[in-house]
């Protein structure tokens, strides 16, 4: 009898080009996303060595990290220059490198442009059962569609461009099981934060996760993208969802997805990928959906999670000395003190966007709460940055942009924006942001910035009240309904 295998093991086995005696495998890479920040040195390396891209048709280039999210073309269609010369130089390098090496580029003003992790699934470039890499740790997002997807460094970007392979050691497997039903006001982001809080930012190191259980089965593709996106925040380079009917329905008809007879053959193959009955995971983490509540981070690591109704923990409450020291350092940085109620924490900035939470469902959920409401007077800046040009247009067609702007939000062009401090969208030093992004690291949203990670509805709630707020309080009339 064939040994039962996990989804991860099936994808791995199907991509082994060569197995070495020490267990390292040369793994074939089916899909490669390239952006402007982690690729210039890789293309330069190819150029110096006189190497070419082995299969340019399997690579897609999209600028996202340091593009300003303000208008990119003037009324006459001329490029509005990027003020920062270094950002402009990285964009120019990508625009030069992609055609030189025969790689398709979705340019800064193309309607499909957006964050690579939003664009890949949206274009049907991301497919189940494929290996997909990108020089960005949030590549784990694509696991939502059943792709073995993980972030790589620039040397590996160059390796994949030149050879379409990577030398890898097989990871251990971890199942993350959430059974039950998510409560009122609880979103996929809260599930992701709950996982980080439970296992810690190193909990998944060395593992590929698979998300299992009724909560994940019932979750939309957008929700799964949010959860898979944050696998890396729990240490796992990759996090997988078994492809199912929702996956196929999402992908069918997308521009780069297979068509006709090839589509049928692909779906038949994808259906064989789910983890076999009896397959064994190296580690299992089980969370009861009923224990997950609207959550917020208090510190400078995504594992620093508490219920929004909770308080800032006392550093002395941590068992080990280095954790105590880290917690104290976090609180000093965040300007918070032990025992303070999270709901008393005033917010100056609100950011709805990033590869974690910038898809149409995220914008619908936030707009649903903001409709007919205004941001609080204490909010200095509130901004919505759609994940892609297509998300933006869809939202505009639904009138969501007007809800946001009438509430006092700015409505921007797609990009990574204020998730990371490398484009003009930054949070000033010492100021506090309720952010739907994925990392609350020191200085992440700009030097000295203070980040509280939340779901889109929680960000909207904070915008309305001016402080971290339990979104359930503002959803009174909808009590009993789960938020998408």
């Amino acid at each position: 009898m064939v040994k039962p295998r996990t989804l991860y093991e099936k994808i791995w086995d199907a991509h082994v080009v060569e197995r070495r005696p020490d267990g390292t495998c040369l793994i074939y890479i089916d899909r490669h996303l390239v952006h402007e920040v982690t690729s210039p040195q890789a293309f330069e390396g190819l150029r110096i060595a006189g190497r070419k891209v082995r299969r340019p048709e399997l690579t897609l280039a999209v600028p996202d990290h340091n593009l300003p999210t303000t208008a990119r073309r003037d009324a006459a269609g001329r490029r509005i220059p990027i003020a920062d010369p270094e950002s402009a130089q990285q964009l120019a390098a990508l625009e030069r490198n992609a055609p030189e090496f025969g790689v398709r580029l979705i340019g800064d003003a193309d309607p499909e442009q957006g964050i690579v992790h939003v664009v890949g699934p949206e274009q049907g470039f991301t497919l189940p059962g494929t290996t997909l890499v990108c020089g960005d740790s949030h590549t784990s997002s694509h696991g939502a569609l059943g792709a073995l997807a993980f972030g790589i460094g620039t040397s590996e970007v160059e390796h994949v461009l030149a050879t379409q392979t990577l030398l890898l050691k097989q990871s251990k497997t971890m199942e993350v099981v959430v059974e039950g039903e998510l409560g009122y006001g609880v979103t996929p982001k809260d599930v992701a934060l709950a996982i980080c809080g439970r296992i810690g930012t190193a909990g998944g190191t060395g593992y590929v996760m698979e998300y299992r259980g009724s909560v994940f089965r019932d979750m939309s593709i957008e929700g799964r993208l949010t959860v898979a996106n944050m696998s890396i925040e729990a240490g796992a380079r990759s996090g997988l969802f078994a492809p199912d009917e929702k996956t196929f329905a999402y992908l069918e008809g997308r521009p780069m997805a297979p068509r006709g007879a090839e589509w049928d053959a692909a779906v038949a193959y994808w259906k064989t990928l789910a983890t076999d009955e009896g397959a064994v995971f190296d580690k299992s983490v089980v969370i009861d959906a009923a224990d997950i509540v609207p959550s917020v981070t208090w510190g400078t690591s995504p594992e620093d999670v508490v219920p929004v109704t909770g308080v800032v923990p006392d550093p002395e409450s941590f068992a080990d000395a280095s954790k105590r020291a880290a917690a104290q350092k976090s609180l000093d940085y965040m300007g918070l003190s032990a025992g303070q109620r999270m709901e008393d924490v005033a917010i100056e900035h609100v950011f709805i966007g990033s590869c974690t939470n910038s898809r149409i469902e995220d914008l619908r959920a936030a707009a649903g709460l903001l409709k007919g409401r205004r941001i609080a007077s204490g909010i200095k800046h509130a901004m919505v940055v759609p994940g892609s040009g297509l998300v933006k247009r869809q939202a505009e067609a639904e009138g969501l942009d007007r809800i946001f702007t009438e509430a006092g939000f700015e409505w921007r062009e797609p990009g990574c924006s204020a998730c990371l401090g490398m484009n003009p969208d930054k949070v000033p030093a010492g100021e506090r942001c309720a952010s739907t992004s994925n990392r609350n690291f020191m200085g992440r949203q700009g030097p000295g910035s203070r980040t509280h990670l939340v779901s889109p509805v929680m960000a909207a709630a904070a915008a309305i009240t001016g402080h971290l707020t339990d979104v359930r309080e503002l959803m009174g009339e909808k009590r009993g309904e789960a938020v998408a």
């Binding site: 074939y28 040195q41 020089g135 790589i152 040397s155 390796h159 392979t165 297979p258």
Partner: protein, 197 residues
Amino acid sequence: MEKLNIVDGRAYPFGMKNVDTDIVIPAHWLKTISRAGLGKGAFEVLRKEPGNVFDDPDYAGSPILIAGDNFGCGSSREHAAWALADLGIKVVIAPSFSDIFSGNAFKNGILTVVLPQEAIDRLMEVARTDPIHVDLEHQTVTTQFQDRFQFEIDPFRKRCLLGGLDEIGLTLGQADAIGAFEAKDAGTRPWLVPAVA
């Protein structure tokens, strides 16, 4: 890649836990299109703190960094490894590393050594006054006080570091195997080539 075997010298007694790559090199340093010169931005935020080890003249130019658990977590930016290399660091010793960081470090000729916390504590103590000796061939970290810690390393990584081997060049040597995989795959997964958008 430069060959690496014996590294002998002072070590930064850093020890911080969960150091993410935003701490190693903040995002605004990522706008370069070159690999060089990032040492200036290494640990920029921490260097604003008085008494930090990176600005202590005692440790200037140390080839070894001693860190805490989960070093290099977060972003995949290889700039973190480039920044450390530019700072002159050849070995990072910690109880654990993020997967992406240790891969990036290795590809830039930086050895990551995993040792238990007790060993780290001892090395932190020695590093404040005396040098540390790392021997890749024999997989040991030793001090002049008879401390001797053995570490594990992936044999392939060891061979590449000792020989200064170019991984892309090695893989291109397998072009026939890659071609054979592609030929077979074109039959079993014909949908793999993206439809033209």
